[in-house]
């Protein structure tokens, strides 16, 4: 590769041709402030925070879009640069709703951090403000235009990464806004509620619809039995909210915290994930042996479900009929658990803690209810759980390590890895291989479906006679490629496809802890958080295959009978239908 040599703040550097000043500066530990920059996603030079001086150049240049050229001299800390950055920041702040102390992003706001770092102590500009609308019609996402700084990171993520493109630039000049089309609410334009816009927003312009008060109310109600279930990916991110390094699993402290918040029972969605494998694996085997619709596609991700319902309804028969682990856990709590403990399901409140904003919508879906009763009543994100823990003044890092409650809190390593892209696939193959070969196979690390690549394919010889072709993809734009292939008939010999709405799977879900764009320049949060799950799988959980879980064995013995049986179909399976793009 061709290289270029240049000087930055007097220091000589050689970098590959095409490297931007921003990237080069980062390599030699020179920090250049950014707001609109999102590595590989949004590099548009819009916010003008990364201005630098180039000796001999007429004007200051945006470092995020300026490729280094041979012999240039870059200066990142001159009076001109500091003055320009500060004025630009003051102008952005003058049109930003600065209710910082009560803002959900206080202390985790890139704009606030910059204002502090650049020494902005007052905003000299006063006048009209351009955005006032708060759109809270969606079950999952609240959009507050008064805080939007038009960095367009959400536009790039929604369009280019997720291929959903419901947020766009509207209008021109001072009145320009980031909005859905024709003044519609996000609830009415085919948004899949993945929340990737939220985790990539530098400020508080996008946030989840909070369900915290509902949870507090339920806990305070003496007539209610309030049960919590936590998704695998939550334990891989929750620690970040309390200062733990990314990728630290905080499962045991989380269980302790949930108990102290006042939940009557602390269970794990991993239980439902193990049941999902039994149901989905059986369904797949059935389709393979009986000539059913193949490839079969997973149905755990509500973002993906919305994507297929709005964009590819003709392929709905490919979806597994299994509900998601959130719903399966809830459905079994409100049936088996309620019956065995003599509780009226109407007096139960099932709360799920999810890495996901779309789960808030999923639990309200009519087709997932059992006899009119929702499986899950309230869903909160990883971030909301952290807020509740803080509000309750629980000292998270001082908590003793505790375990989930019995039975519904039991889960296998196979369930834990559901949180990473490829995890559902690996969990399913572990069980399928054992069942088909009628033995306890020891080599169960299916590395070929692990990792953060957008699309992965593998062929696994599960028996000497059966080689299953697998495909794993995550993130809307990768899903789109897979669906195009499916449409073109190119995946006719593939058996099983795992699709997750968010890039990297649930560990990078829209409900997870928010990581500043600057940190994302150096670390891949998808990989870091996934490590926590694979460590749990390899070293911590007692069982690593869903069908070996004593809890799973018991629920089929005592209650469900057999996978895909009559009871399972009533409680754990559903069907989906076409949804309009625009309402």
């Amino acid at each position: 590769m061709k290289e270029v040599t240049f000087k930055i703040n007097g220091q000589e550097m050689t970098v590959p041709e095409g490297t931007t000043i921003l990237e080069a500066a980062r390599q030699c530990n020179i920090d250049i402030p950014t707001l609109c920059y999102l590595k590989d996603v949004n590099e548009i030079g819009a916010c003008r925070m990364c201005l630098v001086e180039i000796a001999g150049a007429r004007a200051l240049q945006a470092a995020c879009v300026y490729p280094v050229a041979n012999g240039i001299e870059v200066l990142t800390n001159t009076p001109n640069v500091r003055e320009a950055r500060r004025v630009n920041l003051e102008l952005i702040l003058s049109n930003h709703n600065r209710e910082c102390t009560t803002c959900i992003r206080s202390e985790n706001c890139e704009l606030q951090t910059l204002a502090t770092d650049l020494g902005v102590s007052e905003v000299p500009f006063e006048g009209e403000v351009s955005g006032t609308l708060v759109d809270d019609k969606s079950d999952s996402i609240v959009r507050d235009e008064s805080k939007c700084i038009l960095c367009k990171r959400c536009v790039a993520v929604c369009g280019d990464v997720q291929n959903v493109a419901v947020l766009g630039s509207v209008g021109r000049g001072f009145t320009s806004q980031v909005q859905p089309v024709f003044g519609r609410s996000l609830a009415d334009v085919g948004c899949i509620r993945c929340g990737q816009c939220i985790v990539n927003c530098p400020v508080g312009a996008l946030k989840e619809k909070s369900s915290i008060q509902e949870v507090w109310d339920a806990i305070a109600d003496p007539t209610k039995t309030v049960i919590v279930e936590t998704a695998p990916a939550v334990r891989a991110s929750l620690g970040e909210e309390f200062g733990y390094p990314m990728g630290t699993p905080v499962t045991d402290q989380m269980a302790a915290a949930l108990r102290r918040l006042g939940f009557d029972k602390v269970f794990d969605t991993g239980f439902g994930a193990d049941v999902t494998i039994m149901e989905e694996g059986t369904e797949l085997l059935g389709r393979v042996t009986n000539g059913g619709v193949l490839p079969m596609i997973t149905s755990c991700s509500p973002g993906w479900i919305s994507y297929i319902e709005t964009n590819y309804p003709e392929f709905l028969p490919h979806l597994s009929t299994c509900k998601s682990p959130q719903q399966i856990t809830g459905a079994l709590l409100k049936s088996h658990y309620a019956e065995t403990n003599g509780i009226d399901p109407k007096d139960m409140v099932v709360v799920s803690v999810m890495p996901c904003t779309a789960k808030k919508y999923e639990l309200k879906r009519e087709e997932l209810k059992v006899d009119g009763i929702p499986d899950v009543d309230i869903s909160i994100t990883t971030r909301e759980l952290a807020r509740m823990i803080k509000e309750a003044r629980i000292m998270f890092d001082q908590l003793p390590k505790e375990e989930f409650d019995d039975y519904y809190g039991e889960y296998t390593g196979a369930a834990v890895i559901f949180g990473a892209t490829g995890g559902v696939m690996e969990a399913a193959v572990r069980t399928l291989a054992d069942i088909l070969n009628k033995k306890d196979i020891q080599a169960i690390d299916y590395e070929m479906v692990r990792g953060v690549q957008g699309i992965k394919t593998a062929t696994v010889d599960v028996t000497p006679d059966l080689a299953v072709k697998l495909l794993v993809a995550s993130g809307g734009s990768n899903i789109e490629k897979v669906m195009q292939q499916l449409k073109a008939g190119e995946l006719a010999d593939t058996h099983f496809i795992e699709l997750m709405g968010c890039p990297g799977g649930c560990v990078n879900g829209g409900g997870q802890s928010i990581v500043p764009a600057k940190d994302k320049m150096d670390i891949d949060i998808r990989a870091e958080r996934a490590k926590a799950l694979y460590v749990s799988d390899a070293k911590i959980t007692k069982y690593r295959k869903s069908h070996q879980s004593p809890a799973v064995i018991r629920i089929y013995d005592e209650y469900l009978g057999e996978p895909n049986g009559h009871k399972s179909h009533h409680l754990l399976h559903t069907t989906y239908s076409q949804k309009p793009k625009l309402v």
Partner: protein, 156 residues
């Protein structure tokens, strides 16, 4: 002026897209011609353009709202444009606008309920010697005084 095509007829917009789709950056041209034929660019037409081009609707809508020449709502049979260029402005264009609006019960950008009139403020139309100026469709009225306005509107 040719009769406008009803929005229900999507064949014309599809033909416009088909004609230009291979040209890079064709969206502007398509929007312009579509507006010429239909009079404005409602959701149905923008949605068709987006689908035909395989482009997100947000992108089409972004362009349609960026340029002031594109209308998202139907314009009147008679389009009044009052020039707000510098010369017209200093010669009293604002009172002219106010007068038009008070007669028609409109605001700038509006179309009357009967669909007869729409009122817009325009940039300089290059008739500064006649300032202040307004146009009704292709007709130009210059050196206006407030008392002229009612008479002009009555003519249509």
């Amino acid at each position: 002026m040719a009769e406008l095509i009803p929005v229900e007829n999507l064949d014309v917009v599809k033909a416009i897209v088909a004609e230009h789709r291979e040209v890079p950056g064709c969206l502007m041209q398509i929007l312009q011609e579509t507006q010429e034929k239909y009079g404005y660019l409602p959701l149905e037409l923008q949605g068709t353009i987006a689908d035909e081009l395989g482009m997100p609707l947000t992108e089409v809508y972004g362009v349609a709202t960026f340029y002031s020449q594109f209308n998202l709502t139907p314009k009147g049979k008679f389009k009044i444009g009052i020039c707000l260029g510098t010369a017209c402005y200093v010669r009293g264009a604002q009172p002219i606008i106010d007068k038009v609006n008070s007669i028609l019960g409109t605001q700038v950008g509006d179309t009357t309920e009967d669909g007869k009139w729409s009122v817009d403020a325009t940039r300089c139309i290059g008739a500064c010697g006649l300032a202040p100026v307004l146009t009704v469709n292709e007709d130009v009225y210059g050196r206006l005084v407030l008392d002229d306005i009612a008479g002009i509107i009555e003519k249509y």
